[in-house]
């Protein structure tokens, strides 16, 4: 009996310490067989489920190795023992009609006596253990042996079950850590919060570890800010991965195509090309110009953003196209229609349905009205835009319950930019221009800019460009004739962008920066089209009277310096025109 206890203790300790259950099972079987004075033994583990349930030998001891052998889970001595959750004994195999002697014929082993006990813990069936041929006495197992094997099997089963559970826990822990890593990478995809003066703020609270929502924003070369907020269908890892893909597409394509409607069209084309079926993304993309309060918005199937004006009115901006992920051939595939807004000191709230459908109290959704109410009370309390949307997210996650859905809110607040615009209107541009006309002087680059605008590279934009050049050149003190010349030269340069750089088939934006630099009037013209071969641009001979081709001649005639510069980030074309004031 003391041997028996010793074995129980030893087995339990081995299973608790082990990293290799198989090896431990093998050792346990050996010790059990020794203690039972058995010639051989085998340990079977239940595998599969339903009709495919089989008992597979995971450890074998004795003259014949049957490790790997598997038998139907409901047949034979082992199967019966497990099914009935009771020991089985074949006292005298050679004289037992139920014993199948074919195995012995194959292995050359003579089975005289078999004892089998189930491995089970409560309702969990694990397998069975069997020992064959008692070496002592008459070579047959007796009733005492049944009790002993049952006791040993019970503790072996418990040890195996514990070891399995520990393994599953460890596996879960690994999964949890991987999820954490995924979430960390996902958080890294969100933009870092801007300082208090930055007009865009966002908040994202995932319902699970990872999120299917995201927002992003970045400042373009001309000071405008591109932003997006999107909600991927679903909340799990697949949603998180599609979110990462869509977020990357926005970052990449958003820097070259600054028209939100076309950007969403391109993202849709990319997502549809490779996406999983049945997953889609509702997405808002836009461009906001803090220097004017103008905002261009495109909405692909997303919850209507709310425009909160300074007179405390709300306006919902409905989606103008189906979500991203709907194949272009079903929708016609054009750009998502754009809406132009003037924030005029107001704020635009973009949010996922997790924000409006979240519970503020058990069973009680915040709702669109609740959302508006929280915006109003936030404004009334003088909260910053970030604090306002944090308060909304807090109200939904404060109850301590698991969130129903990811919560994401983005706000574009024009209040501070409006103040800046008003200030500049008093003593900004006008003083600069006066100073420029009275006594040109070298200024820091930002002060040197008299007027910067970005317009679609289209013929219809040229009028606006001419107006800007006319106003600024007049303010710089050029004669009327010189002003007309400058207008013509810049117009011609912009025409070349419209006609030659982008060509007939593609379109994009062009940026015009009119500057006063060291006593010169400088115009920088920037586009994002493929680089133009500068060597091919040449003025035509004037005696060659043909239509067209005069533009470059005009530019060179009017300006002192015409140079093609490498663009700041290597993309597109940058032309610098200069004329002394």
């Amino acid at each position: 009996m003391s041997d028996q206890l010793e074995l129980l203790v030893e087995m339990t300790r081995h299973f608790a310490d082990t990293n290799d259950i198989e090896a431990t099972m093998g050792r346990a079987l050996e010790r059990i067989a020794e203690l039972m004075e058995a010639e051989g033994g085998a340990l079977f583990i239940l595998q599969g489920a339903g009709e495919n349930e089989r008992l597979e030998c995971h450890a074998s001891f004795g003259p014949v190795d049957i490790k790997g052998l598997s038998v139907p889970a409901d047949k034979g001595i082992v199967g019966r023992s497990l099914m009935n959750n009771a020991p089985e004994i074949v006292r005298d195999a050679q004289n037992d009609p139920n014993f199948d002697t074919s195995m012995d014929a194959q292995s050359g082993f003579t089975t005289r006596s078999i004892l089998c006990a189930p491995l089970s813990v409560k309702d969990e069936r694990i397998g069975a253990i069997e020992v064959v041929n008692k070496t002592g006495g008459n070579g047959l197992f007796a009733d005492d042996d049944i009790k002993l094997l049952e006791a040993l099997a019970a503790s072996a089963a418990l040890a195996i079950s514990n070891a399995r559970m520990a393994g599953e826990l460890a596996e879960k822990e690994v999964m949890r850590r991987e999820l954490e890593l995924a979430a960390e990478i996902q958080r890294g995809l969100l933009p870092p919060p801007g300082d208090g003066a930055f007009p865009i703020s966002g908040v994202n609270r995932p319902a699970r570890v990872v999120s299917g929502d995201f927002f992003d924003f970045f400042t373009l070369y001309d000071g405008r800010i591109a932003f997006t907020l999107a909600d991927v269908s679903g909340k799990g890892m697949n949603a998180a991965l599609l979110m990462a893909k869509t977020a990357s597409l926005f970052r990449c394509l958003g820097k070259e195509d600054m028209r939100p409607g076309r950007l969403l069209q391109r993202i849709n084309a990319e997502v549809c090309e490779t996406s999983l079926r049945g997953m889609f993304v509702t997405m808002v993309a836009g461009i906001y110009d803090p220097s004017s309060g103008r905002l261009v918005l495109a909405n692909a199937g997303h919850e209507p953003p709310l425009l909160h004006s300074t007179d405390d009115q709300f306006r919902a901006l409905d989606a103008t196209a189906p979500p991203v992920g709907i194949p272009p051939e079903l929708t016609g595939g054009g750009p998502v229609p754009e809406e132009v807004l003037h924030l005029d000191g107001g704020a635009l709230y973009i949010f996922t349905d997790g924000a409006t459908e979240g519970y503020v109290a058990p069973g009680q959704e915040l709702g669109a009205d609740g959302f508006k109410g929280m915006v109003q009370s936030g404004v009334a309390a003088g909260l910053t835009a970030q604090a306002r949307i944090d308060a909304i997210a807090d109200s939904l996650s404060g109850s301590g319950e698991v969130l129903r859905d990811d919560i994401t809110v983005l706000v574009i607040d024009d209040a501070k930019p409006l103040q800046n615009r008003l200030k500049r209107g008093d003593n900004g541009l006008s003083t600069e221009v006066e100073r420029g006309s009275a006594m040109p002087r070298r200024d820091t680059p930002i002060e040197g800019s008299l007027c910067a605008l970005t317009v679609p590279a289209r013929a219809s934009s040229l009028k606006l460009v001419r107006r800007a050049v006319s106003e600024t050149s007049t303010a710089c003190g050029f004669s009327q004739e010189q002003c007309q010349d400058l207008v013509l030269a810049v117009d011609e340069a912009c025409q070349n962008v419209v006609r030659h750089a982008y060509g007939e088939t593609s379109e994009g934006d062009m940026g015009i920066d009119i500057r006063s630099e060291g006593g010169s009037f400088v115009v920088l013209i920037r586009d994002y089209a493929p680089s133009v071969d500068v060597a091919k641009i040449k003025p035509r001979a004037l005696d060659d009277v043909r239509p067209g081709g005069l533009g470059v001649h005009f530019i060179r005639e009017v300006m002192d310096v015409v140079e093609h510069l490498p663009p700041p980030d290597g993309q597109g074309n940058l032309l610098r025109l200069k004329k002394a004031i």
């Binding site: 419209v498 004037l542 067209g548």
Partner: protein, 110 residues
């Protein structure tokens, strides 16, 4: 930009006003070539043009060449200061026939 076409004793007077730029010059071109196809001489009144760019000038040049190849008269009249400056920049003030008034052009082309 607006275009007005009037018939004056066997000649067509095309009066252009406003800004002739990349977006409006195709209309100028179409109007001028349309008039030429009617087989009459053309006087282009530029008194109300406040801006013209290379694409506008190109339309004038193309119409001039087309008229010439068909043996039709083509003259500019009352060219205001801004378009004249552009024509001078292109050295085209010496290529086009330019009259001070529409009447003078009518007399000269009769």
């Amino acid at each position: 930009m607006e275009i007005g076409i009037t018939d004056q004793g066997g000649l067509q007077v095309v009066a252009i006003s406003g800004e002739v730029d990349l977006s409006t010059s195709p209309k100028v071109r179409d109007a001028l070539l349309g008039c030429i196809s009617s087989g009459k001489g053309i006087i282009v009144d530029l008194s109300a043009v406040v801006y013209i760019d290379s694409s506008g000038v190109a339309s004038l040049v193309e119409a001039f060449q087309t008229a010439k190849s068909r043996g039709l008269g083509f003259a500019l009249a009352q060219v205001s200061e801004t378009p004249l400056r552009v024509l001078k920049l292109a050295r085209l003030d010496q290529v086009f026939v330019i009259h001070d008034t529409v009447e003078a052009a009518t007399v000269a082309m009769a």
